[in-house]
């Protein structure tokens, strides 16, 4: 072996050969559909994205503008298509949980609990009371993290820097709490089918209470900074208006739907976990513009604080996981110390063993994620892997009206509108 000289490697240079056929140029899929504007009309076509800093991901808009006014828009998505649904068919039910983090990485716990809830409904597992309460608290904490990022990002895109920094400081506190619980900050993978990864640590409940007090102060500060801010109001009021009828036609969900004045929340309509025993309100807007969506998100964080306080007050004792060794992974202590625990663990994780499911069983199950209705349509075929796992992504459906929303807006409004829809591209393209 030659001794390393410390000099950079030399690469063999490939001479340009005009005889070698050039690879075919892939046609631009949108531009072939976009008609060329009439030169006398004063309209121009330009690209917004795919790597624009305000899209927070890779999505592309082609805008036809007249002056600064957008007259038409075309979208292209799919840059982050990862094939999670196809991949799920080769994994067993527990192995998909880390992938559900990667879909919506800003509120990973909401995806974890939504997926686990769907599979538990398919298999008919009734989780314990303590697990229901812990999942409710964690889902609401994750909702707060998502909304803090959403409002902060939206503000920083428009030009207000302080709410972004203050929101992110609280989000760091939240991630410290997640880390104390499961060891991970962003991609948490906290749930297992039939329970959680482990029970919450001793100092978790006082830590959450201390965090909520700090968060209240931050929310008040954000409110003081933005809600009556002249610039913020001018940039967001009357922008990106989605009327009630349009919201129903486009079937948007979550804060976008509630910002348009429709009182619809899965936590109220079809309560899951502990939401039917908890007192909270669903804020709705009246104009359906960017400003109302901001107000809805801000108020939802206050409601989340209310929910978490009630959950912590009534947190029941008892085991966190269902003791059902045929369908729920046994606790790690049992796996490492007893032969029965180890056998049960292997029976659930080895190929050709795993979950006993019904042949042809299928269910649509949904939870309210920070973006909206997160649904899973699971089909089982008797084996330990899902036969088909459809994710109903809230971002995908919420992003569909974008061509309608940006019509008549200016280019700087597009940034505000995309921010207010809270698009997570990992979930949009899956």
């Amino acid at each position: 072996m030659k001794p390393h000289t410390g000099r950079p490697l030399k690469f063999a240079s490939v001479p340009y050969d005009p005889e070698v056929p050039r690879p075919p140029v892939m046609p631009d899929p949108i531009m072939s559909r976009v008609p060329k504007p009439d030169p006398d009309s004063g309209r121009t076509i330009f690209n917004f994205g795919p790597s624009h800093p305000s899209t927070h991901g890779t999505l592309r808009l082609v805008l036809e503008v007249e002056g600064e006014m957008i007259t038409r828009a075309w979208t292209e998505i799919g840059y982050l298509h990862t094939g999670f649904e196809k991949l799920a068919e080769t994994l067993n039910y527990n192995q998909f949980i880390p992938l559900s983090d990667r879909m919506n990485y800003l509120s990973a716990i909401n995806n974890n609990v939504g997926y686990a809830h769907a599979v538990e409904e398919l298999l008919g597992i009734e989780i314990t009371e303590r697990c229901k309460y812990v999942r409710t608290a964690l889902a609401e904490m994750s909702r707060i993290a998502d909304h803090l990022v959403c409002i902060g990002m939206q503000a920083v895109d428009i030009g207000a820097y302080a709410p972004f920094l203050w929101g992110f400081a609280r989000r760091e506190d939240l991630y410290d709490l997640f880390e104390s619980f499961c060891g991970a900050r962003l991609t948490t993978s906290v749930t297992r089918i039939g329970g959680m990864l482990r029970d919450v640590p001793e100092d978790f409940v006082p830590g959450v209470r201390a965090f909520l007090d700090k968060l209240e102060e931050t929310l008040r500060e954000t409110d003081r900074l933005l809600t009556r801010n002249r610039i913020w109001m001018d940039r967001t009021q009357g922008i990106g208006v989605l009327s009630k009828e349009d919201a129903l036609r486009y079937c948007v969900t979550g804060p976008v739907l509630r910002g348009s004045g429709i009182d619809h929340d899965i936590r109220k309509v079809q309560p899951y976990f502990a939401y039917d025993r908890i007192d909270f309100d669903v804020p709705i807007g009246s104009h359906g513009d960017v400003y109302d969506r901001y107000l809805v998100r801000l108020e939802e964080m206050w409601q989340s604080i209310r929910i978490i306080r009630q959950v912590l007050d009534d947190l029941p004792g008892g085991p966190i996981n269902v003791y059902d060794n045929k369908r729920v992974l046994p606790p790690k202590e049992e796996v490492f110390t007893t032969i029965e625990g180890m056998i049960h663990h292997f029976e659930l994780t080895m190929p050709k063993f795993g979950f006993k499911t019904e042949v042809g069983g299928q269910i649509y199950s949904c939870t309210e994620s920070p973006c909206g209705e997160l649904g899973f349509y699971v089909v089982s075929d008797g084996s330990g892997n899902p036969y088909r796992l459809r994710v109903r992504p809230p971002s995908f459906v919420n992003y569909a009206p974008i061509e309608h929303l940006v019509k008549g807006a200016t280019i700087s409004d597009v940034v505000a509108i995309i921010g207010s829809l809270n698009i997570i591209v990992g979930e949009l393209d899956r």
Binding site: V14, Y16, V20, P23, P24, M26, P27, P29, I77, G78, H81, G83, E85, K86, E89, T90, E121, L122, L123, G124, E126, L248, R249, Y250, C251, V252, H264, V269, Q270, E358, V359, G360, G361, Q362, I363, Y364, S365, C366, E373, G375, Y377, V379, S380, D381, G382, Y387, R388, R390, R392, F396, V397, A400, P401, D429, R430
Partner: protein, 167 residues
């Protein structure tokens, strides 16, 4: 009663509705199996008369490698939601492989536009009278439908189709 809307659809469309079944699991979720020609009238009735004003999802299932498959290979699944009833209504239309065409529901909901494009993209099921039926997630020059069960998960060599650029 949760099965009331499903039974109402069955009594209203006896020729179209093939059966009403309870979905598996602990929940009282009902599924209405319809023939593929009757999707639009059934969904119109459910939207206008039964109050299912909200289209939650459109997806598809490929039953190719199912142990006891239904009579056709594909199924297009519509999930409808109402403001009054908590449980969503699931409507399933079985679609044969050689005639994989379903009437589009874009006249009822604009949300169906992208959802149907996704089903077309990943399953190759065509939606008749759809305004803009093109691929949405995969590139436009892609020639397969990846969520079909006969699309291999390994060894297909799509990476080799793209030329190596030498410079």
């Amino acid at each position: 009663m949760n099965e009331t809307p499903a039974l109402a659809l069955q009594s209203e469309f006896p020729d179209i509705v093939r059966g009403v079944a309870r979905q598996s699991g602990a929940r009282e979720q009902w599924r209405v199996d319809v023939s593929k020609d009757g999707v639009l009238p059934v969904l119109t009735y459910a939207k206008t008369r039964l109050g299912y004003c909200y289209l939650a999802d459109i997806t598809a299932v490929d039953y190719l490698s199912m142990p006891n498959p239904p009579e056709h290979r594909f199924a297009v699944v519509y999930v409808l939601r109402s403001r009054e009833v908590a449980e969503p209504l699931v409507i399933r239309a079985l679609v044969p492989e050689n005639d994989a065409v379903v009437e589009s529901v874009t006249p009822l909901w604009d949300a169906a536009d992208w959802l149907e494009r996704e089903v077309f993209d990943l399953f190759g099921i065509t939606f008749h009278h759809h305004p803009n039926l093109i691929r949405i997630l995969m590139p436009e020059n892609f020639d397969a439908h990846p969520l079909r069960k006969d699309f291999p998960t390994e060894g297909v060599g799509y990476r080799d189709d793209f030329p190596i650029v030498t410079r």
